[in-house]
Subunit: 374 residues, 3 copies
């Protein structure tokens, strides 16, 4: 992706502590993963009223439950996964479905899907006890284009404010209509920011991704300036290439409503802190990042397709999964090498080229958001 | 078990730190596992003079050796598992037998079963060296009803003082005569106190243990007030039930000397800090707790029977082991859920019911013993 | 090995912290593994110009590359394994060969074998960028008798100064001519100094190594006084014994140039901080120590033989490997027992015998080098 402007002289990578230090990591968790809206999955994972997923976000266990019945507008609620009696976790499994209410396995305290305490055996005579004081602890939740977001902070910007003008930008892809075709999970020995940085420049493509570089040249496209909550840009498909797949052909129809220009491009956007969207002519790839430690990140990569294509006889994800799994693994390999090198006492910040402009801007954003001295 | 009195209003569970904090854990280890008498096994494990077991207690490795010969009164001694020469551990195995003396594998320093240094090759000419200065470091040890206890503190209450009136209370079961029929070891991702709390209320039984609740109803029985070093109570067997086993029948004779009342009851007592005794009409179950970390505990569960029954043709532990292993696993499951929930930043103390009176008293005991503000 | 003089009264082992404390360990890493020359392997591992090995020393990843071509004098260079662009590790594998230059996998920055930056794509237009500012970070490297050493400190004693008079002492074995016959790697749950101490006395031999004691009696030989950078001594082969092997016979020719006296002896020298040399009549055993934590050490044990013997039909290492692997495992066993005992709160320093004089001197050296109060 083309840079916009030359970088200032002395535009160097961040000091090692931003990738290795537990204190920095903890402050990032607080600032970005508790203070911002975090993507926790797709609504498609919750098929029915009462269906839930449980997620770990910034050390908390949260479950998200679908609350609308058939024919009602999509709705979810998110709760802390903690019984208000003796603290027992309510959901042990990552997926499941509540049958009308949420019951603790230990002493059978029972809550409605709205979090209200409905039953608490033998508590009725207890001095000072009122059911209304012991609802589940609710967490803000929201939906955008089929993505579920939660925010652990009780106040602060709304999801709409954080999304800024992305709803307008991504409208043509009608992502809420898309369904998951397949997905893969990776555990990567690297800091979460190194993955975002890797995603945000293609200077490494000719050396690391020769196959990708044949489909979409690393000097094609253009970056947008960094915005307060996201950054990204586009790359162009090479002549004769239809989409990003093993051989560059596209056995699927393009997504309905895309302009001729958008049918020739791939858009790569990083929504802070943890969602990476790669919009292709015929599918959308979404990475969600789950930091586990300063030097460990879990990454879930999923490919979403139009339901008409999924329903078509002979539909296959193989060409897309094979291409991106190969490319992903090349990326995680160098992210791990970077983490290992940065962790050495010998590491010192190195110079960015003008084609790494988004990385430099992202670094400035991180440092500023943590209130560190620039 | 029935509560004695209503709890005060605002009787809530403990703050999270008592289950998750390393500093609290360390102070508990010091106060309860170094300062009190800890149960480390059964005398039946030491068949002969010189037989030993090695145990980890509060970070120390201790071995306990039987010192009496045949026909002599039962006697054990306990020592720090450290050679006085260069600090080498003397026992690597958990069980074994010394042949008359205790020899270090490294440089052959040799001690008597009384801990006296008998031989130290090439030390004789060393300036200022006297064998008498280098005996093994002895630890207080004692026996009660076949249970072995040690106390890492050199002074403080005797074992008899800690046992209080329990010897009188448990006399009818003649536990020193009983022999181990079987046992199981569990590693549980929970704080040791959550296991004691789980053991000390049956409010969870109808929901978690439907099979147990059919044998002994959760509202039967009665609790004793908490004592300085133990707590407990009794539950009654339901009509037609003979003992706690898979089908409630008892293929064994009752223990000799039990009153008709005691033949219809199960007594559950927690002896602080680490022994849980469950006295049944025909066997005694003993759990010993071994804290490994704030959130990890090893638990050894053993079933002890009368030797006449063990000797009888067709004797089997299967009905008892199957019932209690099932029930144990149900309990450890919710103990792990409780640990996970309490470890969340979202946890806050919740209200106890009147049927959790022993737990509230136990919490007060813990807080007071640690000299924490109430 | 015979002691030289009686030890002072109260010559006791070190306090536990020298074997268990993270702070002491970190200071040792700094003082001994960053401040001294550390043995990192044998030149024989680097067959050609461009061949490299990567090693972890005191938390840094270092690679050592052979820089001489055929017919040129032996030469190596050592570099920090970190690209000067974004910190990526350059070598992931432990062994390999660079083809003329060293290229980073991520963005293709390319360095010469001398560490000079040769190419940096898209950096040319970057303000203030000069290739000469971004050479690889070089680490001092040196060779002695086929052993490769590096020193992470930029200044301080040369390798020759650290080796002191060892080059003179070991000249007869012509170790630079020897080639590796076999090797084994052990992970040992013990502090690195306990291995050096174990290596430096044979008081434990009659009890722990009865087979060794039959080949070379523990009271034979003589120790040298401790020197500033090494310590050691010799032991004599028993009558009828030819070398240290399973049966004491030697199916190989003695090394050329050894005196009749040296053909009847084994020399055991510890070169601080991490090389143990055991020079036998027909082979040299070398242990290198790699501290991983206060209580964990990796040890590489290799046996080096004369190339004429290796080339001979029927050459075998089996008798030597079998004998020393057995003996090594006996030693690591007691080193682990010692680490376990010393880690107990009950450990207190114990008395050294006069036959442990080198250990006492080594302890004094450690304490003094760390600037601790004696």
């Amino acid at each position: 992706m083309k840079p916009r402007d030359p970088l200032p002289a002395r535009a160097h990578t961040l000091p090692a502590k931003y990738y290795t230090d537990r204190d920095v990591y903890d402050r990032e968790q607080e600032r970005f993963f508790r203070g911002m809206w975090v993507c926790v999955g797709r609504l498609g994972e919750l098929s029915d009223r009462g269906s839930f997923v449980a997620r770990h976000v910034a050390g908390d266990s949260i479950f998200i439950v679908r609350t609308n019945g058939p024919g009602e507008p999509d709705a979810v609620k998110a709760f802390q996964n903690v019984c208000r009696h003796r603290g027992t976790q309510l959901c042990r499994d990552e997926h499941g479905r509540f049958q009308g209410s949420i019951q603790c396995e230990y002493h059978a305290w029972t809550y409605g899907l709205d979090g209200q305490l409905l039953g608490a055996p033998h508590m009725d005579g207890t001095a000072g006890f009122r059911k209304g004081d012991h609802s589940l602890l609710e967490v803000r939740a929201g939906l955008w284009e089929g993505f579920i977001f939660i925010c652990l902070a009780d106040s602060g910007p709304t999801l709409e404010q954080q999304l800024d003008d992305l709803p307008f930008k991504f409208r043509p892809w009608r992502m809420h209509e898309l369904r998951r075709g397949d997905g893969m999970t990776y555990d990567i020995a690297t800091n979460w920011k190194l993955i975002i940085q890797n995603f945000s420049e293609c200077l490494h493509c000719p050396n690391l991704h020769p196959a990708l570089n044949k489909l979409s040249h690393y000097l094609s496209g253009e970056n947008e300036p960094l915005r307060p909550t996201y950054m990204g840009g586009r790359m162009d498909l090479n002549d004769g290439v239809e989409t990003m797949s093993m051989d560059g052909t596209c056995p699927r129809a393009f997504l309905p409503g895309l302009s001729p220009d958008d049918q020739r491009r791939v858009y790569y956007y990083a929504l802070f802190p943890n969602l990476l969207i790669s919009a292709h002519p015929d599918y959308v790839m979404a990475h969600t990042l789950w930091p586990l430690a300063p030097d460990r990140t879990r990454l879930v990569c999923e490919w979403h397709f139009h339901p008409d294509e999924i329903a078509r006889a002979g539909f296959s994800v193989d060409d897309v999964r094979e291409f991106w799994d190969m490319t992903n693994r090349q990326d995680w390999h160098v992210c791990e090498l970077a983490q290992a090198g940065i962790s050495s006492r010998a590491y010192r910040p190195g110079p960015y080229s003008d084609r790494e402009d988004l990385l430099y801007a992202f670094d400035r954003f991180i440092v500023a958001a943590l209130d560190d001295a620039p």
